[in-house]
Chain length 242, copies 2
DNA sequence: TAGGACTTTCTTGGTCCAACAAATAAGAAC
DNA sequence: GTTCTTATTTGTTGGACCAAGAAAGTCCTA
């Protein structure tokens, strides 16, 4: 039953594919061919070992990949069950905030926010109420006070969340929640405490004024400018090769 | 979910964090504190074992997670290098088309599309040009011809891509490209060739007509209905298995 | 006897260890 | 400069043990 030590791999798949990748593929096939649905159970790790003739560590690494992709949910003693959290995972990719914000990430995220915030202008004016304006002004007023960078960016973020909350769309708020870490980093880039207290505060106030005046063009122009103003802090970076 | 990814999930998860999650977090901290950039090398697996007091398997499983998220690229003998392939990984996420589309994925994806397509109505009318209408009509006309399911869904998808292309936002087009495999599956769910030729064609035509008439309310209502009409094909799913 | 509470056993994922294979960068030998 | 050797590092394997929880068995009481 055990693999032949030092022997020919034999049934190994196409050259160049790792054993872990092969197991991932085989589990995918298993899911597809067995027509497993969300909530169904996968065989135990040890069963999969026997079924795919792989060691348990290999199966476990494959399972980690599937788990990272949001396709299975594995709990001790319970085993692996099929799930489908791909959409959540996709957004979480942008919440992974270990390294310096890259120019590309800045561009992607801000373009997306621009789509939401600037692109929904007409919805804003449809739903806008006085209390929205009051809240925005109050939050922004706090920005003018003396905070450290982290606090200031949190307030900046809260301002934008309050803004999009006018849209009353939970999906949007969810997206903002998962992207919060990246957005915070973007907000801090190139700024000081004073920048928040002066420039950012002023830009926000201009946006609120445009909202209050129901001046859609001004609202869109000012908000778009506000979102893109940090672009100057990101220098071109070389394309690394694999 | 994603105990290893969420920075501060805030959820009442089990107090005990797994060793693998801990190592993932420590590697993240290492990247952040060392200010590692794309292309830089991580310490070897064995170094990380010593550094974090973890076994090699634990470190390897942690590395698999980081690799799955497109944050590191590890090659034999070379070691792990920092990368940023999050977009690519997102694409692979949605290429995992092994299982039946779940109700949750349908709901997530269509709600998101609704946000983009319905929520940007006012931008559509701002930018709309005659050639946009002509292209949309032409694409939709093709849908009325006799195609197989795959071809029909491709045309359906092309229609919506052409629609959002009016927004002239590359980020949105990128998102649609990434989600294409899932969107195609959603479009095919519960449909036949004839459904595409009749119902889908008709719904599209109604949307185009509303665009041409610059009737924003009709545009939003019809488009939203069109996106959500497939919902009836997804039944509630239960949690446990047989 | 029936039924519930307690105990034991077994299953299963989580972690660790030790070894070897394979790939390849780096140095040695020519 | 080319080729060979060596050393290092990831890839894979099999085995071991633990902790948590489910399942099964046991025992006590009404």
């Amino acid at each position: 039953m055990s693999a032949e030590l030092g022997g020919e791999p034999g049934k190994a798949g196409p050259a160049g594919e790792s054993a872990v990748d092969a197991v991932v593929q085989q589990i995918r096939n298993l899911i597809a061919s067995s027509k497993l649905k969300v909530g169904d159970h996968l065989p135990t790790e040890r069963d999969l070992c026997a079924q795919f003739n792989a060691s348990r560590n290999t199966v476990r690494e494959a399972m980690r990949i599937l788990k990272a992709y949001g396709l299975v949910d594995v709990r001790p003693k319970i085993g692996a069950t099929i799930t489908d959290n791909r959409m959540t995972r996709a957004f979480e990719l942008f919440s992974f905030n270990t390294m310096e914000i890259s120019r590309k990430t800045f561009s992607d995220v801000q373009a997306f926010r621009s789509l939401i915030e600037v692109g929904s202008a007409d919805l804003f004016f449809d739903r806008l109420r006085q209390e929205d304006l009051d809240d925005l002004s109050e939050i922004n007023a706090s920005l003018a006070e003396n905070h450290d960078l982290n606090e200031a960016s949190e307030i900046d973020f809260a301002f934008h969340v309050r803004l999009v909350s006018i849209l009353d769309n939970h999906a949007v708020l969810d997206v903002y929640a998962v992207m919060k870490p990246v957005i915070l980093r973007i907000m801090q880039k190139g700024k000081t405490r004073r920048t928040f207290m002066t420039e950012t505060f002023s830009e926000h106030q201009d946006v609120v004024d445009a909202l209050a005046a129901r001046d859609r063009l001004a609202f869109q122009y000012r908000l778009r400018s506000h979102l893109m103003i940090g672009f100057r802090f990101f220098s071109e970076e070389m394309e690394e090769s694999a």
